[in-house]
């Protein structure tokens, strides 16, 4: 890694603590990622990003700020990045995915809070992640009780704009979300000092749509058998897309997709043709949470799709680009975002339909539905998902876990036993 010590010092980071993280991450990444066989060349870019994870992109963000630009940290796929980019800002998904930050979060949060929230709060409070220190503003939402209250704690650290995401999908809820987008536009305009116009929002819609199209293309390639890319690699692509520059993200994902399409043409795969194909559904896996994918794939099964925020929920559905006035664009944004199916909505039967559709599209042999421990929403919903999968004879298993390594062997046994059933 290049030397970013000065940059980190200027950000007020706890360098001593941060060094510990910098020591463990390359080892974990090497063991999980670099030991994989026949990885696509297109992954080199993502490997590079990980090797410079707290350096290269933060430096770009700081440069942007030096030139008068603003940076917004976000935590949810319901936050419309388009608005931020339309005002010349940078939006970056910040969710914490490492056990390293959990203890920092536990200083202020109750024990029965999920790892994602604990890690996110811990990364900020302990000052061990540049991404959490750079933003001029955080954008929170009310998708669960844990997050809702965590923003109130973080508000003492950094200005926060909260988006009130509706939790039902009636027409008046979509209208309510439109109003939220308008409020968000007003805030972003104020923070950046830039007016959002139909022209700039139209361009931002295209920018983010292009990233979605590129990710869709990568995922489409995963429908092939043998599968041309591992689930671990695909997950990493999605994770990095949360905070990378959207135009570059689209370009890199398109380059990768092109290579994968070539592999399919040549019948090349990273798993044998007969490998068991698994869908992972449920709560997001923020970088560097690769635990479940690593367990599944080290047992010889391929993860071919993620029905999650770090998967299809992130890029399925495009915003209608034909909208030409701000009014129409805001409506188009609201319609697109409200198509996303998260367990914070009720009822959420469309998510079950998504899983059934994806199981068919990606020809999966089994579904592993997972949630972070203490995520009440996904944990409760798994009962209904299981019921529906049983009715359709789709093999299903539910796993509750967190960022720690304590349950690694137990999870391995459970996944292995599930695969034994599927391979019979």
């Amino acid at each position: 890694m290049a030397d970013y010590k000065q940059m980190w010092t200027d950000l007020g980071m706890d360098l001593e603590k941060h060094d510990v993280l910098c020591e463990v991450l390359p080892e974990a990444f090497g063991g999980i990622y670099l030991t994989q066989q026949d990885r696509p060349k297109g992954m080199d870019f993502y490997d590079f990003v990980v090797s410079e994870i707290h350096g290269v992109r933060p430096a770009e963000m700081l440069q942007h700020q030096k030139e008068g630009g603003k940076v917004f940290g976000t935590f949810c796929v319901y936050v419309p990045d388009e608005v931020v980019f339309a005002a010349g800002g940078i939006a970056a998904g910040l969710c914490g995915g490492s056990q390293f930050w959990v203890s920092g979060g536990e200083k202020v949060l109750p024990a029965n809070t999920c790892s994602l929230i604990k890690a996110s709060v811990g990364a900020r409070l302990d000052k061990t992640c540049p991404f959490f220190l750079i933003p001029d503003m955080y954008v929170g939402e009310n998708t669960c009780d844990g997050k809702k209250k965590a923003w109130e704690i973080l508000a003492g650290e950094v200005p926060i704009h909260i988006i009130d995401i509706p939790q039902m999908k009636r027409e008046r809820d979509i209208a309510a979300y439109e109003a939220e987008i308008r409020d968000f536009i007003a805030t972003v305009e104020k923070v950046t000092g830039n007016k959002i116009t139909a022209e700039s929002l139209g361009a931002a819609i295209k920018l983010i749509n292009n990233k979605r199209r590129a990710l869709q293309r990568v995922y489409n390639a995963r429908k092939a058998s043998p599968v041309p890319i591992s689930g671990l690699d695909a997950l990493l692509v999605t994770q990095i897309n949360f905070y990378d520059d959207p135009a570059r993200a689209a370009q890199m994902a398109n380059n990768l997709a092109e290579e994968l399409e070539q592999r399919i043409e040549n019948g090349l795969g990273v798993f044998p043709d007969k490998a068991v194909r698994i869908m992972v559904s449920g709560t997001p896996m923020a970088i560097p949470n690769w635990k479940l994918h690593h367990i599944i794939e080290s047992l010889g099964a391929a993860v071919v799709v993620e029905e999650s925020c770090t998967g299809t929920r992130y890029f399925e559905n495009l915003v209608d680009e034909s909208a030409s006035t701000l009014e129409e664009q805001i409506r188009a944004l609201a319609e697109r975002y409200m198509k996303t199916n998260c367990a914070c909505f009720t009822p959420n039967s469309a998510r079950v339909e998504d899983i059934i559709r994806l199981a068919d599209e990606y020809k999966v042999d089994g579904i592993i539905d997972t949630n972070l421990q203490f995520c009440n929403l996904y944990s409760t919903e798994s009962h209904l998902v299981k019921q529906s999968m049983n009715e359709r004879n789709l093999p299903f298993m539910h796993i509750e876990t967190d960022y720690s390594e304590q349950d690694f062997e137990q999870l391995r046994t459970r996944v292995e036993a599930f695969l034994e059933i599927l391979r019979k």
Partner: protein, 254 residues
């Protein structure tokens, strides 16, 4: 053909050798090294059956220590091995409850002993042998003494599922002068409730067998029967079911 099945659990390592219809078995504490425990099992089995190592056709290994044991011709999960073992002993069984040192599992099996579905405790010691071990220590007993020491008539129900909270709860219960036998009955009931809830979520089909080290404890068996409202079969060698299954799968080369 001579085959060996080994089940390296978190507390005990169990072994089964099958040689032309005859078999021997052995059990030792796993200790700190699953690898050494596995080796000791092989040595003991060969010794007691007077068989040389090179006469053994295949060794199948199961249990949490399976990954560390290089001599395995194949590793299989304990879920599949328990199913195979029980199918041999009690072909009528359709549900297996297995409670070991660190896991509890409910396994639903088909007519040929194949695994149809299973549930396993999440990262939590409640409802496992570990829970009972922690509580036995708090009561100044060995975990093997719990079964005989319980007095169901004086049941002191404990409300905490969590091992950490339950420990302070029973210390409080002792301090209030409650009979130790009643406290133990409450602990067994707690394990029974926890595991029965997991079993009910999956659906109970009779007959039901109870395996693993905790199955030796008559109190937990009684508690499970009370919770599930059904009679439960405990194999005479309940701790060996996984090792037996591994040996049978090795015999079948499956």
């Amino acid at each position: 053909m001579i085959v060996i099945g080994i089940d390296i659990g978190s507390v005990a390592a169990k072994g089964y050798i099958i040689s032309s219809g005859k078999h021997h078995r052995t059990i030792i504490p796993t200790g700190w090294s699953p690898r050494e425990a596995g080796q000791a099992i092989i040595d003991q089995l060969l010794d007691v059956s007077r068989i040389e190592r090179d006469q053994v056709e295949r060794i199948y290994v199961t249990g949490y220590g399976r990954v560390a044991f290089e001599q395995a011709d194949k590793t299989i999960t304990e879920i599949k091995c328990h199913a195979r073992g029980i199918a041999e002993l009690y072909p009528e069984v359709r549900t297996i409850i297995d409670i070991g040192g660190q896991d509890s599992k409910v396994i639903r099996i088909g007519e040929r002993g194949q695994v149809l579905d299973f549930a396993m405790n999440d990262k939590c010691a409640a409802g496992t042998g570990r829970f009972l071990q922690v509580m036995a220590t708090a009561l100044g007993l060995d975990v093997s003494e719990l079964g005989d020491a319980e007095q169901p008539g004086q049941m002191q129900t404990i409300s905490s599922m969590c091992t950490v909270f339950a420990e302070s709860e029973i210390i409080g219960s002792l301090a209030r002068g409650n009979p130790i036998g009643g406290i133990i009955a409450g602990l067994h009931q707690s394990v029974g409730k926890r595991v029965a809830a997991m079993a009910r979520r999956m659906g109970i089909r009779e007959q039901v067998a109870f395996t693993g080290g905790v199955a030796i404890n008559q109190g937990v068996k009684r508690a499970l029967e009370a919770e599930l409202g059904t009679r439960i079969i405990v194999p005479e060698a309940c701790q060996y079911t996984g090792a037996l299954g591994a040996a049978l799968l090795a015999l079948e080369n499956s």
